[in-house]
């Protein structure tokens, strides 16, 4: 990692701000989950936030996003809307979907967060069409689709990769590679050694990152978007990262048999939030300024949690609303 940022100060600070927001929201979830007010299975992003933050910021407001069920960081990075986020996790009417989504299906259509699916890999083909429509209606706008290393094992990924390459669609395939599908390692699931090498045989730009560094990922994203526009090809980004918590739930499960102590120490030694904070300090941002920003975010998140707890529960009138497409 570069000790000092080469990005403009406001960009570097903005990246940290969003990283901190995503991390802090999940720390709050860990704290209040036992209260059982959020009755929804949680797939936590903690540890992996740099992927979503780096890429969503690289989209610079001119991109759509589709996430997997591990969507907290992606949703927060793309929308920064933690009021709706906590409302939805609490199953309340101030959520993104009146509480019908819960943690697994966060979305915000106006902001271009086109959904998150609980079925592994299911969002990937949808990204193709979103990109297809953009290509015709909003040239220059890309679609970033986030999925795990497990999703790559599905046929839907390979069908979509082929379609995107054959049609030259502006899709950025972002593989959040934490080496795990639930508890199963990549090496136990694949009959080939390097995914990027395989994808390179397609008409697709392939980029890799192993740094877990939000600035590196941000730069990679910017570069990918420029190239996609000039070369008219999709891009595939394999970004290595690490999941801090259990597959589903908020416990650290560090002692589970599938975990490796050395791996845990390695990745926690390159924690994306800590890395960016350190970089800001070394670049001369006064700690007081950082702390002030952090405290403001902390306080605002507490407002979101309180608002969620006070918001109405959805009622009978909402049960059937939206099942079919009513004529308006």
């Amino acid at each position: 990692m570069n000790a000092v940022t080469s990005l403009p100060r406001d960009v570097a600070l903005g990246l940290y701000r969003t990283l901190y927001l995503a991390r802090r929201c999940e720390e709050v979830i860990v704290r209040i989950y036992p209260d059982d007010e959020m009755k929804t299975p949680m797939h936590m992003s903690m540890g992996q936030e740099a992927v979503s933050v780096g890429i969503c910021k690289a989209l610079a407001g001119n991109g759509d996003v589709i996430a997997s069920y591990r969507s907290h960081a992606t949703y927060l990075a793309h929308t920064e809307d933690h009021r709706s986020f906590f409302g939805e996790l609490h199953g309340r009417t101030n959520g993104t979907a009146d509480g019908k989504s819960g943690s697994m299906h966060l979305a915000d259509i106006p902001k271009g967060m086109l959904g998150a699916s609980g079925i592994v890999g299911a969002g990937i083909p949808v990204a193709l069409g979103a990109a297809f429509a953009n290509k015709q209606q909003s040239p220059g706008r890309v679609v970033a689709v986030f999925f795990g290393d497990g999703a790559v094992d599905e046929g839907a990924f390979w069908e979509s990769l082929n379609i995107a390459c054959a049609m030259g669609l502006p899709v950025m395939f972002v593989c959040e590679d934490n080496d795990l599908a639930v508890h199963t390692r990549v090496s136990d699931r694949r009959g080939y050694s390097s995914l990027p090498d395989v994808v390179r045989r397609y008409n697709c730009m392939v980029l890799e990152d192993e740094s877990n560094d939000v600035e590196a990922i941000y730069r990679l994203g910017r570069y990918a978007i420029e190239q996609m526009m000039s070369q008219k090809t999709p891009a595939f980004l394999n970004i290595r990262t690490y999941r801090y918590l259990e597959h589903c739930g908020t416990a650290p499960d560090t002692d589970a048999p599938y975990r490796k102590a050395a791996e845990d120490a390695f990745w926690k030694g390159r924690d994306c939030v800590a890395m960016q904070r350190k970089r800001l300090l070394e670049g001369g941002v006064p700690e007081s300024e950082i702390v002030k920003m952090e405290r403001a975010i902390d306080a605002d998140i507490e407002v979101s949690v309180a608002a969620a707890n006070q918001a109405p529960h959805p009622g009978q009138d909402l049960l059937y609303r939206g099942v079919f497409h009513e004529a308006s």
Partner: protein, 359 residues
């Protein structure tokens, strides 16, 4: 022909583990495929330790590739294996429908009877605590619609032990079993094992004898029906409860005999009503002898919407002990103001409350 199913005081989960163990021990060609079958959680504790005993060449951890793995099971069955494939949610098997419906279901018939495809697909129905639209579906009718498939919904530990042994040892075709996640922690006392109403463990089961109303139920709704029946028994209403169990092969005589006696029918299924088990049971009665009915049939199931995540909506999405008891009492008494004291929403509510995942 009726007989008691295996008396066991195992929990549903323990029964599943025993069934998996016995399949491996009893048939050297049995194979078990699934995502996460050999991890420390072992499909909610139903496959734990089996790889140590039978080897990873028989308990095979698979990539996320539902269609590929299902086709692989069909091929293995053609060549003499007995494959078992488990999905921790029934929703995930939708990626394998092509292999199940276009291949497995048709292999025997389409090739003039040349092939048998003996295999078992285990699917787990999720419910409660925010499972949401894509982790809660109860897809029995999609499968039961297809000639060539046998679809079971075990509602007790004895049902699991008997039916899985029958599938592995005797049945020569593809069996789709829908297990219910909320039953995993329940213990079934031997006296609660329903009586099997037929020749094989796939036959319908009698949960309780009664004279006022026939209740035909599936899976966890058979448990709710039993609890409602017990509540109503001491309040002057007697329920004849049939656990459908094998929803693809319904013995019409069993249902007609009961409805002829009671004149009233309530169907309680775990899924949506249109085109489902409810519709099928009504079809049977309508085609056989609708004249036995003294009142319109009542059906209960999930609300006709995808499953909402919020608890407030989930609570009204599914029938519960209160709404079921009320519906039975209203049907029997013939009026909404049925005068029967209703149980508090309890019954399964304790189970729901305890259930907080994991997935």
């Amino acid at each position: 022909m009726t007989h008691q199913s295996t008396a066991t005081s195992l929990s549903y989960r323990e029964a599943l583990h025993k069934a998996m163990h016995d399949a491996m021990a009893g048939n050297p060609n049995a194979l078990l495929f699934g995502q996460g079958i050999n991890d420390h959680k072992g499909i909610f504790g139903t496959t734990t330790g089996l790889a140590d005993k039978f080897g990873k060449h028989r308990l095979i951890e698979v990539p996320l590739a539902e269609e590929g793995v299902t086709g692989n099971c069909i091929g293995a069955a053609l060549n003499g294996a007995y494959p078992i494939n488990v999905h921790i949610r029934s929703d995930f098997v939708l990626l394998a429908m092509n292999q199940i419906i276009n291949l497995a279901a048709k292999y025997k018939y389409m090739f003039g009877g040349l092939f048998d495809v003996p295999m078992l697909v285990r699917l787990v129905i999720g419910r409660s605590w925010g499972q949401g639209a894509q982790h809660s579906q109860s897809l029995q009718s999609l499968f039961a619609h297809i000639p060539g498939l046998t679809v079971i919904m075990p509602a007790s530990s004895g049902s699991i032990v008997d039916s899985y042994a029958h599938a592995v040892r005797k049945h020569r075709g593809p069996v789709i079993s829908l297990e219910h996640r909320l039953m995993y922690d329940l213990k079934f006392e031997p006296e609660h094992e329903p009586v099997v109403l037929g020749a094989t463990p796939f036959s319908q089961r009698k949960v309780s004898h009664g004279s006022d109303v026939t209740i035909v139920s599936t899976s966890i709704m058979s448990l709710e029906a039993r609890r409602a029946g017990e509540w109503l028994a001491s309040r002057g209403i007697s329920c004849d409860i049939i656990d459908l169990h094998c929803v693809s092969h319904i013995d019409a005589d069993v249902i007609m005999k009961s409805v002829a006696r009671t004149g009233k029918l309530l169907v309680a299924d775990t899924s949506w009503q249109p085109y489902g088990v409810s519709a099928e049971v009504c079809r049977i009665v309508a085609m056989r002898d609708p004249g036995v009915l003294k009142a319109p049939v009542v059906c209960m199931g999930m609300a006709a919407a995808p499953c909402p995540t919020a608890k407030a909506l989930e609570d009204i999405y599914y029938p519960n002990l209160t709404t079921l008891t009320d519906a039975i009492a209203t049907l029997v008494r013939g009026k909404k103001d049925n005068g029967i004291e209703l149980p508090h929403e309890r019954s399964m509510a304790d189970v729901y409350k305890k259930f907080k995942g994991p997935f």
